[in-house]
Symmetry: D3
Amino acid sequence: MEDRYIKGLKNLEKIHPEASKRLMNNLKDIAPDLGRFVIEFPYGEVYERPGLDLKSREIATIAALTALGDTKPELKDHINGALNVGCERQEIIEIIIQMAVYAGFPRAINGINTAKEVFEELDEKAGN
Amino acid sequence: MEDRYIKGLKNLEKIHPEASKRLMNNLKDIAPDLGRFVIEFPYGEVYERPGLDLKSREIATIAALTALGDTKPELKDHINGALNVGCERQEIIEIIIQMAVYAGFPRAINGINTAKEVFEELDEKAGN
Amino acid sequence: MEDRYIKGLKNLEKIHPEASKRLMNNLKDIAPDLGRFVIEFPYGEVYERPGLDLKSREIATIAALTALGDTKPELKDHINGALNVGCERQEIIEIIIQMAVYAGFPRAINGINTAKEVFEELDEKAGN
Amino acid sequence: MEDRYIKGLKNLEKIHPEASKRLMNNLKDIAPDLGRFVIEFPYGEVYERPGLDLKSREIATIAALTALGDTKPELKDHINGALNVGCERQEIIEIIIQMAVYAGFPRAINGINTAKEVFEELDEKAGN
Amino acid sequence: MEDRYIKGLKNLEKIHPEASKRLMNNLKDIAPDLGRFVIEFPYGEVYERPGLDLKSREIATIAALTALGDTKPELKDHINGALNVGCERQEIIEIIIQMAVYAGFPRAINGINTAKEVFEELDEKAGN
Amino acid sequence: MEDRYIKGLKNLEKIHPEASKRLMNNLKDIAPDLGRFVIEFPYGEVYERPGLDLKSREIATIAALTALGDTKPELKDHINGALNVGCERQEIIEIIIQMAVYAGFPRAINGINTAKEVFEELDEKAGN
């Protein structure tokens, strides 16, 4: 097993362990190599790089996904990921609100609704 | 003069004083109110909010502008702004490289070329 | 309460009273300030400006939302809003069809499906 | 009936007969001319042109729809269409994976999930 | 010569005669049929339809082009076109400012800069 | 040197040798690892995969870049690349025209202008 694959798995385990298992499972019959690429390139290479801490990386990712639109499942995963690497809920809300400035209010409102969904799922899991 | 206008000017002065003067000057004959909105809403409201530090806000903005494409003048301003609020050059490079994952390699390569331009302009000004 | 907030509420009441209540309600626990920004900036400033009538403003908004994609809830609200400020159903259909030219057929077809949903909801409410 | 309309129907019949009937049916009450435009312009003109074979045209379309995002119903139709004009399932998977490079991983992962849905529907219909 | 081609030419002559000549000239060696499609479909069909007046159509187009980004030459043509069918300069400015709400400030600022260029070219031609 | 790096260089050499040298040279001082990623991931992994021939891969890439917009340097490189792996000029023109259907006429017209630039540069180099 390649070095970057092992590093990628370790980063995924730290950032969003459940989401990554779900993704790999989902891809395994139809495009297992896309799953491998996700592990090796974003997580085994990019997130592994020094020069930017993981929390800042998740801030960048949440901003980009909110601005691009049509990435709800990935945004949900990265909101969870951001919380796992030290972001506060309020920080995530702030990033998404800020996107109203750069990508318009509809993207920001949709992003906030996605954050709301994630927070409610976490509260349910924690309190029930 | 309204409170948020004054706060906005102060934030602009801190983040990118030259760019904002250029922008206001550019808008003053054709759409001065758009200039006022830029001061009052993004800088007088959003960047003013507690809950996310200015450096993290600039990380989010650089990520979004790189991912969206066709925002070169604004990306240049915010790369300068990020440096002014404490980002290292290498951190900016990392954010832009990371966008290859979320918005594709062409957006990341274009973003890096824009960063290169900004860094070269700064080096020239510094007399190197 | 600020002037622009009051003006914004008045414009929202005129354009889409139900949608705005739903939105504010939705945002009130997670990002109430985003709700306030929606009232103050788009509706308290932009839609308040002379120089373009409300009907033309809604035409512009429907065109933009159709072209951008991934804005279905907002497009639904603004189709209702356009009807409330004097657009005919056929005019809305024409704007959306025209977007096939500028943003491609998939965006136009998705937009028409959204308009269909709105019109059917209105017909049901009207008891037809 | 115009020449390009007849040619368009013939091309639609060859590429995705069921999808086109569904689309026309969907548009017939609200925007029948948009349905006619779909037949006459994309299928009666563009897909009719010599200089690029139908299989290559479907490769181009799947790439573009995956990259643009928010076009799931159209992407489903064109995955079926690509299979009908001679693409292999694996070829379709490859096109979509490749979009990770040009439009980012989220678009590619969403595209693969759409392909998975289409393939499962086909397998069900085939009685597997 | 087909009916829709003749109607398209007439509409182009009314909306932006110079731009269309430039476009056709530009396309004539490499893709003359794309030039013909522009005449026949957008101008010979869509802009020809009753149900929405030409001024409203240009408002929709300027909104969409500003929101989409990376369409500067087309936006310039349609700002000229809007003026030719009865839009005031201030109305065009208002549409573009409004796009800050739906597509973010960078798109609006870029759009205003494009409008400024068009207005200056017109003033120069008018001998001011 | 890693296997995928060597394969990537070989693919780049086949597809667009000059463009890749220019890119690597451009990135070498500011973000050399982004250059390495381009070699290793798109060219060392994706373009290396069986299941889709190189010509079809370039068709997909040209379609996506035209549809996304704001990728002119990359589109120029891939038009050259497509010619190098067996596409005819007319095939490239057809792919770009087809994008009018999926991403609107402005993107298609801009794409054709880019193709024109590439073809003229090639003709000049060939001594015409």
